[in-house]
Symmetry: C2
Subunit: 900 residues, 2 copies
C-alpha cells in the first residue's frame, strides 16, 4: 500500500497556530486540543507537536527520524523563544520545556510527561536568578533529573526508588516533612546525589546538553508506544498500533513559584454523577505531577475561591467556553503562575456510565447537542450502570462503615479482599467475588482490576489512576480512603479498629464512598425498582434519564432486539428491559431440573427406540408446559425455539455414586449406565454427535419436541387467556441442507398431525442456526429450506477459528500479549474472519430467499461493536441475554446513527 | 429451476428404433444399448423403454405417471405385437415380455428383471400349444409367479423361500434332482400351490390381467429406485438420486426350449486378466436368471463350440462387432432360441484393475482407442491392483490348498473367517483382517464385502454377484469353490478334511483361486519387485503395462504429485512410485521413538523456559539427523516440513505405570508428571493448544526446529555427497496472519543466524497450512506473509463441517443411509462446502501473491475425485501417502484430460 507522504512533521501552537481539533489523527488528542485552545483564545503556553506520522516513520525505519525533522524542530523552537523572549539552554534567561506524549486516544499505558527540560548545571543558575528563587530553581532541577533519569534513561527500581531514598534522607537531615520545605542548599546537595545515582546506574553523566535532553525525551515518548502496558491497553481498547503517538513540546509554566501559584485538574461537570458543576482538585505551590501522583492529597476545586479567587472566577468562564466550544464535558489541566492562569491540556472527560447518560441528556436539554450526538456520547455499556445492583437498604442500614473514601465508580460490590492482581485473578478463577484493595493503583494493576468486582484505594483522588480506569471498566470504585492502611507485607487492611486479612469479605459503595467489613447483600437499582413496579417513575431521576435514552434509541435504531430466554421468568425480565421477542430458547435447559433429568437420562439410556419413546413420553408434558408458559409470557411476540442441541453425555452423571443411584432408580444394572456413559464420551464433543445430528439419529426426539411446541401453541392460543403464538422452530448445527430437510420434514409432519387433530391452525416458521462454517458457505442451498437464519456466532467462531473456548485459556494470554487477536473473538465478533463469513452467508441466503429473516444469537448479540457489525450487514435482529437488552437497544441506535 | 419438459416418454427398439447409445441419460444404459445394438443390426428382440424422466415424474408427483404414458405404452406394445405377430394376453398366441430396470449406470442394488410376464391361466395354455411343450409353458409360468410374487408383490422370506420349499417337495415327490426334470403335471400342481402361497401371503389372487401384471412390474422397477440397497449403492458410487431409472419392456425369447436353446453371459475380453479372448459361461436349456443365480454352475463359453457351434461362431463375430462399435470391453447377455441367437443386453464390462490396465493399453495398440481414451478407461484406483501384495512365494510353496475356486479378484488376502456382514464389520472394527465366506453373496452382503480383505464363495461363477462386486471394490475374491461347504448354523466351513470355524484364519489367492487354511504371509507384487530392482523390467508384462500407463499419465497431467513422508524410507518408497517431492513431512513423527520420546516428555514437563531449552537441545541432534536423511533421500527435490503440530498431551503417557517410570527417569515427583498431564488435558483437543499455538507459546520449540532444518540443510548440501536442498517450512493451524508473522520471524531469524555462522546460503520458503476456515477466509491477508499454501483438507473438513473424525462413528451410518453426505467427506473432498472454501482461498491467495504455490496434503491428496477438484481449482500439486502416488499420477492425468 502506498503511504501518504506527510507534508508537515511539526505543527506549532501559540501566537501562531498551525493545527486544531480537526487534526486529531495527525497531532494526537493533546496536541490537537492545545492548538484548538490557542485558536479560541485560551491562555496556552507556546509549543509545537511532532505528528503521529513521525512515530510510524520511526518504527518503519529502524528508529530513525525523517531527515527534515531536525531542521523543523529547530525552527519551531526559535518561534517559542521569540514569543517568550527566552532561549533554550541560555545560562541567563533559559527556556524550559515540557515534553509529553499524545496519541489519538488518551493512553495511560504510555510515557506521559517530562517537565523542566532544558535545565542543566548552568541554566539552573540562570533560572534561579531570573526568578530570584534559587530554592525553586533547584527544586525544578532535581525534579527534572529524577523524571528524566527514570523515564528516558531507565534509572528506576520498582521496589525502592533510589531518588526518593536520597530525598527522604535529606528531609530527615533537615528535619522537614515536605519536599517543598527543603532548603536551596539541601536541594543542591540532592541534585549532586541524583547525578551520582545516574552515573552509577548508567555509567554516563546526566546530559548537560539541552539539545540531547530534548531528543532523548522525544525518543522516549516514541519508544513508549511499544512498551508492554501500552500494548495491553491498546489490546483492551482496540486501538491499532498504526495510529502512532505524537509528541508535544511546550514552554514550561510554573505552579510552584509560591503561594500565588498552583496547579490543578478539573472537569466541566462531575464525572461521577454528571452533575453540572465545576469539579476537580488543585494544589497551591505545586507542579502538575503532584496532583495526579496522589502524594499530596489535593483540595477540592471549590476551595480555590478562598486561595486563588481570581483564577477560580477565570476557570468558571473557561469551563463555559470549553463546553460551548467542544460540546462535551472536558477534563482539563491548568497552572497558575504568579496569579496568571495557563491551560495545559483539555480533553473529553472520562466519566461514569451514570454521568455519561446524565451529561448527554442534559446537554441535549441545554441545546448544546442534538439527540443523535447525545446518544453517540454515551458508551453503550454505560446504561448498565443505571441497572447495576446497589446495597440492600436494610442490610446496609444496620452496617457501620469502617471508613469512607471518594465515590469513584458507582454501584455496590461485596467480595473477598485481594491485595495483588495475581491473587484477584486466582480468586476470580475460583468463582469468587473479589474487591482489589491497594494503596494506589498503577497500570500494572490492570489485570487485577479486570478481575475484580470492585476497587478500593487508600490514596489518590477522583482523577487518580484507580478512579480513571474503574470508570472506564464500569467497575465499582472507592478511592482515596485515607483512613484505610494497607500493609502488603502483613497482608492486612486496617481501618479504625477493623483488621481485615486477604480473603476476608469487604463491601464498598462506589456511589457513596462507604466501606464496610463483611459481606452485604446487594439489591436492585432505582431503575430496576421502577421497571418492576416497586417505585414510581416520577420519583426517580435516574429512571427518567434511562427512559429518555431508551426512547431516543428505539426511535432511531433499525436492528430489532430479541433475547435469549429459556424460562417464563427470563422472558419477563427481558420484556421489562425492552426485548421485542425471543431469539433463542435453548430447550435443553428445560431438561436439567430434578424429575426431568431422570426422564432425560432414562431416554438416553434406553436400549431401543421403544424404550426411548416411552421415556420421551414422560418428558413431553414438561416441555409442553414450559413452552406454553413462554408463549404466554411473550404473548404476540415471536419465540424462536431451538431443538435439542448438546451432546447427550452432558445429561449423564459423571460421578459413580450418582450413576449408581440412577441405575437403581431406573432398575438397570449400574454397569449399563457406566457403559452407556462411556460409549457416549467423545474426543471432541464440540464437533461430535450433537445438534441436528441427535434428531437425525433419534427422530423421535425431534418428534416429541415438535409435538410439545405445537400442543403448547394451541393451548396458549385458545381459551380465556388466549395469546397470539408465533413459534419459530430452529434446527441447530446444520451443515448440509439435507440435514435440515430431514428435520424440517419431521417438524412439519408433527405440526400437521397436531393441528389437524385439534382443528387449529398455528402460523409457524422453521429455520436454522448458521453455526457450522459449511452452513455459511452453502447458505444459498440452505435458504431453500430454511425460513430464517440465526447466526450462532459462538460456535461459528469456535469452528471458523479452530478455537475451543474451553481450551483457549492455556495460550490466550500470550495471544493478547502478542496482539494476535484484535479483541477477544468471543466477546466481539471477529469481523475480518467470522464477520466475512456471516456477510457472505447473508448475501447467499438472500439470493435464494429474498427477505429471509436474519439475526444473531449468542454472546455477540449484546456486544456493541458486534451489533454495529450486524447493522452494517443489515441483519434483522440481534438476540442477547435479558440484562444486555438495554445496552443492545442503545448500541443498535448508535450503529444506525453512525452508519447513516 | 425449470425442468426440461420431456418430449417423449417411450422409446421403441426393434424394426423401428427411436434411440441409441447417445441417449444413455434418457434411456438408461440397458435401454440405450439395446437400441444401439438394434441400430447396428445385431439380433435384438423388439421392445421399448420408459425413460428416466418418468421415474422423476413418478417421485415428484406422489407416485403417479404422466397422463400420456398409458397411451404411449399401448402404442409401443402394438408395435411389438405387429413385429412378432403375437398378442399380449392372447390365449392362443400370447406375447410374453421381460421387464427390466436400467439406470444410467448399472445398479446391482435395484430390481433387475421380471421374465415371462404375460402368462396367466389362459395364456399358459396358448404357450403350451404354440410351442407344443406344456412342460416348458408350465415351467415358464411357475418361474413367472415366483419372480413376480417375490419382486412385485413382496412375497418373500429371507430365511425360507416358501416357493423353493414347494418346488423341493415336488422334486422329492417325483424323485428328480433338477427343476428341469419335473413333469408337466408336477409343474401344474406347483403352479396351483404357488398361487395359494400368493393368496395366503397377500390376501389377493395372483393377477390374471396381463395389463395389471405389466403396470405392476413397471411400478416395482420405479419403486426399487429408493430401496435400501439402491440407496447404499448410490451412496458408495456417488450416483445422484435425480438420475432416475428407466424401464425396459422387451419381447421374451427362450433359452429353455430344449437342447438347441440356451442362454449365457459373456465378455469380449477376460475381465479378470484383460486377455483378449471371448470369455464367459452359458447353460443349455435355461433362462438367463439360471446363469447369474449360481444355482446351476454354468459351462465355460469355449464349450459352446461343441454344444452350439453355430451360435458360438456367431458370438465371435458379435464380439468383434461390439468392440469395434463400442470401443470398449463389452459384457453381454444372449439367448439362443431353437438355434437362433438373440442379444439381450450389452454394456461396458466390469473388470479387475489389472484387466482395466491391460485392456486399455492393448486397445490402444490395436488402434481401437487413442491414449487419452485409454487412460480415461482405467479407474485410477485400478493401478493399485498391479501393486497389491501377493502371497510370499516361500510361504505358499509349503502350503497345500484345501480347495480351489475361480480367481475373481486379484491379489492375496489372509484373515479371520466371518460368515456374516455384521461379524465382518465387528472384526474389522477391532482391527482384524477378515475374509468373508459365503455360499453366495447378495446385495445385502455389500457391507460385509466392504469390511473384508477378501471374499470367498462356494457357488456362482465369474459373473456372480460376489465376483462382480469384488472386482469393483478391488477386493481379493475367489468364487464358486464348489468343494467348500459353509454351514451357517454350525458356524463351520468344510473343505476336504479341513473344518474351520468363525474366527479361524483362512488365506485366498484371487489370482489363482487357491484357498489355504491358516494365515500366509503376503509379499510384493511383480511390479513392486521391478521397482525395487529385484526383477528385470523386461521379465514382467505387468510392469510394462504399469510403466506404459504411468508414462502416458506423466506426459498428460498438469498437477504435480508430492508425497507425505516423514522418514527417509518413506521418501524412498515414494520416489520409487514416482513422487516429485515431499509435500508434507510431519516432524512430530520423529519424536515418538524410544529415546526421543523421553526428551520430548522432559521438554513438555519442563517447569520453565530454561529447562525447556535444555530438553530441546537434546532433541536437536535427532531432528537434524532426520532432516538430513530426508534431504539426501530427496536430493534436489523440495521438502515441505511442517513444524510441530499435535497437542503436547499426545506425547505424554496416559498410564500411571509409565508416568511413574517417566518421573523416576526425569528425577521429578510422579505427582508433577500427573499434574502436568492433567493440566494439558483439553475438552476439544482438535481446537486447542496445537499447531502454531505451540510455537507462539513456546518460541524455543520453533527455534529448535528451524535450527535443525537449516543445520541439516547445510550439512546435506555440502561435502562429498552434496545434494541440492530446497526446504519449505510450513506453519500449521494458522488462522490469523499475525500468528504466521510471529512464527516466520523466528524461522527467518534462526535461518539468518545459522547461515551466517556457516557462511552458506540455502534457498528456502516459509508458508502455511490452510486448515482453519479463518485462514481460507482471510487467505488474501495470509498470502502477504506465506510463500506457499498447503490446504490441510483433513482438518479443514473437520472444522468446516464441525465434524470430528474420531466421533462421527456414532451417527455416520445414519447419515449414509439418509444420503446426507454425498460421499464420505474425509475420503473425497466435499466440493460444495470445503471445496468452495478452497477455491475461494486460492483466488484470494493469488490476488495478493501472484503465482503463489498451492497444493493439498492429507488423505484427499490420493483420492481421484479430489484430485480432479484440485486440477479444476488449478492447484500446483497434491501430496499423498507413498502407496497412493501411482493412483494420483493417473488420476491427475485423467483430470487434465477431462477438464481439457
Amino acid at each position: 500500500m502506498a503511504k501518504r507522504k506527510p507534508t508537515q512533521y511539526v505543527y506549532a501552537f501559540g501566537n501562531q497556530t498551525d493545527g486544531g481539533a480537526e487534526l486529531r489523527n495527525t497531532l494526537g488528542g493533546k496536541g490537537a486540543n492545545l492548538a484548538e485552545m490557542a485558536r479560541i483564545g485560551l491562555p496556552v503556553p507556546p509549543g509545537f507537536t511532532l505528528v503521529t506520522d513521525v512515530c510510524n516513520y520511526y518504527y518503519d525505519n529502524d528508529r530513525q527520524y525523517p531527515p527534515s525533522l531536525e531542521g523543523d524542530v529547530a525552527k519551531a523552537m526559535r518561534a517559542i523563544e521569540n514569543q517568550l523572549d527566552k532561549r533554550f539552554g541560555d545560562p541567563v534567561n533559559p527556556l524550559l520545556l515540557s515534553v509529553r506524549s499524545g496519541a489519538r486516544e488518551s493512553m495511560p499505558g504510555m510515557m506521559d510527561t517530562i517537565l523542566n527540560l532544558g535545565l542543566n548545571d548552568e541554566t539552573v543558575e540562570g533560572l534561579a536568578e531570573a526568578t530570584a528563587n534559587p530554592r525553586f530553581a533547584y527544586d525544578c532541577y532535581r525534579r527534572f533529573i529524577h523524571m528524566y533519569a527514570d523515564v528516558v534513561m531507565g534509572v528506576n527500581d520498582e521496589n525502592a526508588d533510589p531518588f526518593e531514598h536520597v530525598l527522604e534522607a535529606k528531609k530527615r537531615a533537615e528535619g522537614v516533612e515536605l519536599d517543598s520545605d527543603l532548603s536551596a542548599e539541601g536541594l543542591a546537595a540532592v541534585i549532586d546525589e541524583f547525578k551520582s545515582i545516574v552515573r552509577n546506574h548508567t555509567g554516563e553523566d546526566f546530559p548537560q546538553d539541552v539539545g540531547a535532553q530534548l531528543w532523548g525525551a522525544i525518543g522516549a515518548v516514541f519508544g513508549s508506544w511499544l512498551n508492554d502496558r501500552a500494548v495491553l491497553y491498546r489490546q483492551r481498547y482496540g486501538i491499532p498500533r498504526s495510529w502512532g503517538t505524537a509528541v508535544n513540546v511546550q514552554a514550561m509554566v510554573f505552579g510552584n513559584l509560591g503561594e500565588t501559584s498552583g496547579t490543578g485538574v478539573a472537569f466541566t461537570r462531575d464525572p461521577a454523577t454528571g452533575e453540572k458543576v465545576l469539579y476537580g482538585e488543585y494544589l497551591v505551590n505545586a507542579q502538575g505531577e503532584d496532583v495526579v501522583a496522589g502524594v499530596r492529597t489535593p483540595n477540592p476545586i471549590a476551595q480555590m475561591v478562598d486561595d486563588l479567587p481570581k483564577s477560580h472566577a477565570e476557570l468558571e468562564k473557561v469551563r463555559t467556553k470549553l463546553e460551548r466550544h467542544f460540546r462535551d464535558m472536558q477534563d482539563f489541566e491548568f497552572t497558575v503562575e504568579n496569579g496568571k492562569l495557563f491551560m495545559l491540556q483539555t480533553r473529553n472527560g472520562k466519566r461514569t456510565g451514570l454521568a455519561a447518560v446524565r451529561i448527554a441528556v442534559e446537554m441535549n436539554r441545554e441545546r448544546l447537542i442534538d439527540r443523535k450526538t447525545a446518544l453517540m456520547k454515551i458508551p453503550a455499556e454505560s446504561i448498565d450502570s443505571l441497572l447495576v445492583p446497589v446495597f440492600d437498604h436494610k442490610a446496609v442500614a444496620g452496617a457501620t462503615p469502617i471508613a469512607t473514601g471518594l465515590p469513584a465508580g458507582p454501584g455496590a460490590a461485596s467480595g473477598e479482599i485481594a491485595f495483588t492482581s495475581d491473587r484477584a485473578e486466582e480468586l476470580t478463577r475460583k468463582g469468587k467475588s473479589v474487591v482489589l484493595c491497594r494503596t494506589e493503583t498503577s497500570p500494572d494493576d490492570l489485570k487485577g482490576m479486570l478481575n475484580s468486582a470492585g476497587i478500593l484505594t487508600s490514596r489518590g483522588g477522583v482523577s487518580s489512576h484507580a478512579a480513571l480506569v474503574a470508570r472506564q471498566l464500569g467497575k465499582v470504585c472507592v478511592c482515596g480512603a485515607a483512613s484505610v492502611v494497607i500493609n502488603y507485607d502483613d497482608g492486612t487492611l486496617n481501618a479504625g479498629d477493623a483488621v481485615l486479612k486477604e480473603g476476608d469479605w469487604i463491601s464498598i459503595d462506589g456511589s457513596t464512598g462507604e466501606i464496610f467489613a463483611g459481606p452485604i447483600e446487594t439489591t436492585a437499582s432505582e431503575v430496576q425498582r421502577v421497571l418492576r413496579g416497586r417505585l414510581k417513575p416520577e420519583k426517580s431521576y435516574h429512571y427518567q434519564l434511562y427512559a429518555t435514552v431508551m426512547s431516543w434509541s428505539d426511535a432511531l435504531r433499525r436492528v430489532k432486539i430479541r433475547t435469549n430466554a429459556d424460562t417464563p421468568s427470563m422472558a419477563k425480565q427481558a420484556i421489562e428491559y425492552g426485548a421485542e421477542s425471543i431469539g433463542l430458547c435453548r430447550t435443553e435447559h428445560m431438561f436439567f431440573e430434578e424429575t426431568r433429568i431422570d426422564h432425560m437420562r432414562e431416554m438416553i439410556l434406553a436400549p431401543d427406540e421403544t424404550a426411548r419413546r416411552a421415556a420421551l413420553k414422560k418428558l413431553l408434558p414438561y416441555q409442553r408446559r414450559d413452552f406454553k408458559g413462554l408463549f404466554q409470557a411473550m404473548g404476540g411476540k415471536p419465540v424462536t425455539i431451538r431443538l435439542l442441541d448438546p451432546p447427550l453425555h452432558e445429561f449423564l452423571p459423571h460421578d459413580d455414586g450418582v450413576s449408581a443411584a440412577l441405575a437403581e432408580k431406573l432398575g438397570v444394572p449400574v454397569a449399563d449406565v457406566l457403559e452407556r456413559t462411556e460409549s457416549l464420551a467423545e474426543v471432541n464433543p464440540m464437533l461430535g454427535c450433537r445438534g441436528c445430528r441427535l434428531g437425525i439419529m433419534y427422530p423421535e426426539i425431534t418428534e416429541m419436541q415438535a409435538r410439545a411446541i405445537f400442543e403448547a401453541a394451541i393451548a396458549a392460543s385458545s381459551g380465556k387467556n388466549a395469546v397470539v403464538v408465533l413459534p419459530e422452530i430452529m434446527v441447530p448445527l446444520v451443515g448440509f441442507v439435507a440435514e435440515l430437510e430431514d428435520q424440517v420434514a419431521i417438524v412439519r409432519r408433527v405440526a400437521d398431525e397436531v393441528m389437524s387433530k385439534k382443528g387449529v391452525t398455528i402460523e409457524y416458521q422453521v429455520g436454522t442456526m448458521i453455526e457450522v462454517p459449511r452452513a455459511a458457505i452453502t447458505a444459498d442451498e440452505i435458504a431453500e429450506v430454511a425460513e430464517f437464519f440465526s447466526f450462532g456466532t459462538n460456535d461459528l467462531t469456535q469452528m471458523t477459528l479452530g478455537l475451543s473456548r474451553d481450551d483457549m485459556g492455556s495460550f490466550y494470554d500470550q495471544y493478547v500479549a502478542k496482539e494476535i487477536y484484535g479483541a477477544n473473538p468471543f466477546a466481539s465478533i471477529d469481523e475480518s474472519g467470522v464477520g466475512r463469513l456471516v456477510s457472505h452467508a447473508a448475501r447467499l441466503g438472500r439470493s435464494t430467499r429474498q427477505g429471509i429473516k436474519l439475526g444473531i444469537c449468542g454472546e455477540h448479540g449484546g456486544d456493541p461493536s458486534s451489533i454495529r457489525f450486524c447493522q452494517e450487514t443489515d441483519l434483522d435482529y440481534v438476540s442477547c441475554s435479558p440484562p444486555r437488552v438495554p445496552v443492545a437497544r442503545l448500541a443498535a441506535a448508535q450503529a444506525a446513527i453512525s452508519l447513516g
